[in-house]
Amino acid sequence: MTADPPAESCACPSCGQPVWPSDNFCEACRAELSTALVSGGGANGPQACLSCPGAPVTPEGYCESCGRKLPSGTDHCELDLGVLAGVTDRGRRHSRNEDAMAIATARSPVGQAAIAVVCDGVSTSARPDEAAQAAARAAARVLLTAARADSNVAEASRQAFGAAQRALLAMADGGWRVGAPSATFVSAVLTGSEVTVCWLGDSRAYWLDPSGAGTRQLTSDDSVAQALVSEGLMSPAEALASPAGHVVTGWIGADLSEAEPHVIAFAPDGPGAVLLCSDGLWNYAQAAADLAGLALPGALTDPLGTAAALIAFANEAGGADNITAVLARFPPGPPVPPADPQPWTKETADEPA
């Protein structure tokens, strides 16, 4: 990563020449501008077995000594941009990670913005891991471009959702059948004054308030369990324990192409943190207060370390599903360069949608 675009409207941080919000390089000096980081994708997996130092790895990704399958780039991935960071993990029970995340920071004419997207591939659909990645990548591009230009964030969130939707439509290869590649969706954009959340499915966003008073779940699941609770038929615990409790009723994918996301925005009273997570985390800590207890105050100073701690917590509790947690500090301060670079892929921003 190189430095972000300048605060003064859009100027290259290297040479000061003006740049467009959608530019990934400065036209004048060719300096690379900030881009979104996306989990997994590409050959990011470890190149050696952790238990067998020096042992070769087969082309299929097995250790030539102990035979263990090495984690692929998607199995465990940590992304860090200082003000926000995320960790995604395969968990202990699934053989692959079908969650994905994307994070980015941007400087707009009015200040710093932080962007996060979490998608959880629907495991009964085709290629859920690729679907989640494609959706997160597409959405982050749109949000990054919009944030650089200080566009209307709620509208940009809907456009980002639409871009994710189109990415999965393209993956479905024209097939409108049930079981086309699909994923849940939750995005958050933090500016200096506001938090905007957009979602569909059962991946969640939480506001974590250090004073405790404002801590709450920002999203409401599109799931059978939530429907049962909303209709007063069951308690949340009963509903989630019911056989169809985890069935999602909203998702992005070619088989639900008319789906509309939910969008909310609010202006926090003071500093805090936004947590985006997949059900692999919240299954083990439903209540916002419980998650806040785990994530604060660490989320305010060490988003990466705290996200990693949340993953460890879910794995120790059983790790029954893939786990993803992204923590973003509010207000998003100046970015701190990552101390320990982790596997990530660079993504370029699109033209505005």
């Binding site: 067998c52 000594s65 102990c66 263990r68 399958k69 968990g91 053989s95």
Partner: protein, 431 residues
Amino acid sequence: MSRPDFTVEVFQNEFLPDGGREVNAIVTVTAPDPDPTAAAASLGGGSSRAEIIIIDCLGSMDYPRAKIAQARAATAAAIDVIRDGVTFAVVAGTDVARPAFPLDGSLAVASPASRDAAKRVVADLRPAGGTAMGSWLRLAGQMFSFSPAALRHAILLTDGRNEHESPQQLTEALSGCEGAFSCDCRGVGTDWEVAELRRIATALLGSVDIVADPAGLAADFESMMRTAMGKQVADVALRVWTPQHAELRFVKQVAPTVDDLTTRRARSGPQAGDYPTGAWGGGESRDYHVCVQVTPAGVGQEMLAARVSLVAGSEVLGQGLVRAVWTDDEALSTRINANVAHYTGQAELAQAIQDGLEARKHGDEDLATAKLGRAVALAEQSGNEETAKLLAKVVDVLDAATGTVRLKKKVDDADEMALDTRSTKTVRTRK
């Protein structure tokens, strides 16, 4: 120039329960389709093949008189099928071995003239005393050793027991010949020992069968020689890699016949061993059952339990992967792969027949009835009709499904020997 690849398909249920250790897989290996130009190119033409026919000239071959005549006719039929350019010889076996054609112990190059000359010699073969198969094989081995041919194949025909040398002498001869050439064995009549010929055929990667009626010998020889002429790739080994701390429980060929290769492992790397499979004909397909015991990993983890490759020298001709994935989903881990189940049954069938016949020989009728009954049930379940027919000549089948049988009071020796020699023949589940 690289050879066309062998196809390697793996059939298994890769899912193991938490703590599960045993991984079973059926590996189907298929050689590339016959391609006359490729075969000739990769093997250097006709001179890349050498054939030796070893014919027993034991005295008993003279009685009934028809037997030696049929053996001569069979040898002549086989000689007729040897292609031009292939080098060949005929060895006459008694208590010693001597080259019958060419007389100097060399290999002749097949041509219309040399085939005729060989057939004239064979027509004049006279019965003489003695059977010493080890010495016959040793002579064949010496004659092959001067040949540059990659595909070296022999046919051994006998009608008697190996009476004129000790079992130890045969063992020594076999260890000298292993890997040097392959040998198909045929027993004529009922005075030969199934176990003896099976030992030779197993060690020398060939087939064994009974020719109860000498009249069938010519057709059998011709077919054996045609198969030999169809071989394309010599000295192929099955290489099995397993992870550290894993134990390879067994490696068995399970189709077309059951042949346990486990003890024939030759180390080929820190975690790999080679098992000889001999020469492969174009389009030839065989199935192997590999059973590995691995160190369990956690639920959700995946491991390469075995890598099965086909190798010829330093060349890898194809490979397949046997995997293990631990799951807490019982619906996945309790599924039994149909191919593994089928061949486990076929291997048990062969064993039950051999155990049953052994018990019968020793007069243990209860055990014989139980074992052969089990064999009848297994043959019925798996649709192995050929074996079921052979069994029905040794036992009276009261109920095939449950394996209820009665030993026949009088069994033709030839029928019992046919059941014994063919007990290892399996049927495939697919195709």
